[in-house]
């Protein structure tokens, strides 16, 4: 990961890229977007810059939509690169590329070059600013005005801020996708408020959005040091207070504050130093101050029985649900049903006792074993029954949201 490359390797990689660009321009006769990272020094790869590259490539794909004709990627020590053939006028493509580069401060570290079908390179209208002094970048780069260390430190700060912001966005998105999933038995969804009278979809959306600063903070804490549980607990307590203010005193995401905080801090730590996400998250959970300590902050996020047990065990249920998401081919229902049929949901126990828990688990297992085409219809029936029985599997809902976050971040902790 930290292997440096020689100047000659860099020069060879650029010529190979230029030759492949000419080939694609000949083959397609369309404008070409060439995406590389702009990192000073001999080390051209790192977990943080790889994350930025992948995130940027993803938003490129989304922005281009059907205009993306062909795409190829190269993963080399000399840097990640992508070539995208686009069915858009070159000027339009350049405007789009500059827009994406400027959408985030870390976009400064991305080079999105646009080549015309004739092979010319469109350059940006306003020259780039130096990372260190803000002057014209090309002059500072040529003169090595600030020394490599200062440039790398500035780039690193941008990358860390990016990681915190990006993971926080993915976390909020995971919470919103979970609550929007409809139908869910007994839970708030787009159709009804389930077995709840004090909250609705809008409450959950507001609550999810207000947690974004906390999520950013959790990632940053983990990036700074792996044993950050004391700080994380304090941040979690503040986040809970904000949540209660925003929801008018309703507990929408207490479970998510706990589990997402652990996972986001552990993701930060993986980005900083590598290692296993679940070992790190479990270690953080184990380091939590117990609730009987005088420190008031500690009393909060010790984690309720089920949630804490799940964390200490390395999130076995959330991981199972994440695998179900992978296998579900875009559908969230198999993951939801897997959780409902297996999790010892504290919320179900509280409202319905052993009987309520067994009822939901049994129904969910039967639906999961049946035909996927009937999932929606049978979940709707179960929803009505849960509302009648006043049952709400909030623990499973939290784990589904967590599985969505794990799935969205698997490039960090899973497949290389």
């Amino acid at each position: 990961m930290v292997k440096g490359v020689s100047l000659q390797e860099m020069l060879d990689a650029r010529e190979a890229r230029a030759s492949r660009q000419r080939q694609l321009l000949r083959e397609y006769g369309k404008p070409l977007l060439s995406f590389t990272m702009n990192l000073a020094g001999p080390v051209k790869r790192g977990r943080l810059s790889d994350l930025l590259f992948r995130a940027m490539l993803e938003s490129l794909g989304r922005t281009l939509g059907n205009a993306l004709v062909y795409q190829e990627r190269t993963d080399a020590a000399s840097g990640l690169e992508a070539l995208l053939v686009c069915a858009l006028p070159a000027e339009e493509l350049k405007a789009l590329a500059v827009g994406l580069e400027e959408a985030r401060p870390a976009g400064r570290l991305c080079d999105l070059d646009v080549l015309t079908p004739e092979g010319g390179v469109l350059s940006r209208e306003s020259p780039r600013a130096c990372l260190v002094c803000g002057g014209p970048a090309k002059v500072c780069a040529r003169s090595r005005a600030h020394g490599l260390e200062a440039v790398q430190a500035a780039a690193d700060a941008l990358l860390r801020d990016f990681a915190a912001e990006y993971l926080s966005e993915l976390a909020v998105d995971a919470l919103i996708r979970e609550v929007d999933l409809t139908p869910k038995p007994g839970l708030v969804d787009r159709c009804n408020t389930g077995a709840h009278r004090d909250m609705d979809l809008e409450t959950f959306h507001r609550s999810a959005r207000c947690l974004s600063p906390y999520f950013r903070q959790a990632v940053t804490l983990g990036l700074e040091r792996r044993d950050c549980m004391a700080q994380l607990q304090r941040a979690g307590l503040r986040a809970e207070r904000t949540m209660l203010e925003v929801t008018g005193g309703v507990n929408t995401h207490k479970g998510a504050v706990y589990a997402f905080g652990l996972i986001l801090a552990a993701l930060g730590s993986v980005l900083a130093e590598g290692g296993d996400l679940y070992v790190k998250a479990a270690a953080l959970a184990a380091a939590a101050l117990p609730p009987d300590t005088p420190d008031a902050a500690a009393r909060m996020r010790y984690g309720a029985g089920g949630a804490r047990g799940e964390a200490l065990a390395g999130f076995p249920n959330a991981r199972r649900a994440q695998r179900a998401l992978r296998a579900g081919d875009g559908s969230l229902f198999p993951a939801l049903l897997t959780l409902l049929s297996q999790v010892e949901d504290a919320n179900l126990l509280r409202r319905g006792g052993e009987e309520g828990l067994a009822f939901v688990r049994g129904k969910a297992a039967s639906i999961l074993a049946g035909a996927p085409e009937e999932y929606v219809c049978r979940l709707r029936e179960l929803d009505i029954l849960c509302i009648e029985k006043n049952l709400s599997p909030g623990g499973s809902a939290d784990l589904l949201a967590l599985a969505l976050l794990l799935d969205a971040t698997r490039m960090i902790w899973g497949e290389p």
């Binding site: 010529e15 890229r17 390179v121 090309k138 002059v139 040529r142």
Partner: protein, 98 residues
Amino acid sequence: MELKKTAVAGTMESSDIMVTVEPRESGGIVLELTSSVMKQYGRRIERVIRETAAELGVEHALICAVDKGALDCTVRARVSAAIFRAAERENITWEVGK
């Protein structure tokens, strides 16, 4: 070094320089240079190019260079590569000068 054909090295990416070397019978080294940092570094880049050609024993050539802010070491490596290719000695490896 005897040049046999026209050859190119480098790219149009930023921090790079694209160098085309064309054999000439006479007239010394004719250099056509454009650079994104012409005002600040034009003379220096020209000096590096001429020095590299001289070191490799090239007496007559047309050298076109389009510079996008390449460092001296990159300029030297690209000029050398173009000259070696023009001399059809592509397989030769060389140390990139400091």
